[in-house]
Amino acid sequence: MIVQVNEQAVETTTGITILDLLKQLDLTTRHIAVEVNLNIVPFESHSNTILRDGDQLEVVTLVGGG
């Protein structure tokens, strides 16, 4: 199936969890927050939240700013 991550199409396994998708993208050691279809999914739920085809994800982190 295909999900959108930060407006880019990502091919992944049907029924994948957020945590496994983050592993696939090599993002697990980063300090991030994840939104699925505009709803924040708390980090505690990444391992048991199953993604669906067409889900729109935002993965954000901290950068320098004033």
Binding site: F43, L62, V63, G64
Partner: protein
Amino acid sequence: MGTVAANDLDGVAMEDSLLKIGPFELNSRLIVGSGRYENAAMMRQALDFSGSDCITVAIRRERLHDAHGDNLLDHIDSDQTILLPNTAGCYSAKDAVRVANLGREILRALGNPGADWVKLECLGDSRTLLPDPISTLEATKILVADGFHVLCYTTDDPVIARRLKQAGAAAVMPAGSPIGSGQGILNPNNIRIILEYLKNEDPEYPVIVDAGIGTASDVAQAMELGADGVLLNTAIAHARHPLVMATAMRHAMLAGRQAFLAGRIPKRLYAAASSPMEGVIATHPFPRNETK
């Protein structure tokens, strides 16, 4: 009078309280940004030299193809520092609220106390980066209802400053001049009026001058006016010698704050001699017309 543990000024210093914003207590009244540094090592050192224990950060999309680069938090000791996430770059209340919640989630996962506050930036114009007062007020109300302690970046307009405080802002942060412009405090009288309005019967209410700082004297000026703190970024990050400027800013903060606490003399139109007139050896060339 006594010495203040948090500074290294020689001689006596006025006892000072910590800067309190909502439930947060900061040792330094200087809040510094982490943006626009030439490299992460320079940033880390500059933040150290500034003496600040509160650092602003921005929230941005993670890069999917180059995620192996440094993460900001590899260079900030987030156990020793309170992170202040901002909503920089947002042009609507909706976006600002969304970004604030994303920042909260990142900081919550980190266990950083900064999860509960936000520097709200709702811009209205991309050239001046001036805030949109209406969407700033709207976002403030939503975020306060969501349990955030909201630090509102705003213009130096006393009326909107008062509205933001009434809406529940934990601190109001008027700009000295446009973000990154280095013009210092363009309208000190407005800052004075904001301080008077917001601190009337509420002297502890924090007012922080945010944006526009160009050099150390701007920090001292803000503090001498009676501001509770200063938030700056570019003035250090883009100085020719950021580490020296960071040190200068720390000293300016202490100097300005201590001068405020010490109480400046009133300004007067005419001179007042420092040396006694009695016993002076001089002839007076003009008729004496000063009032007695």
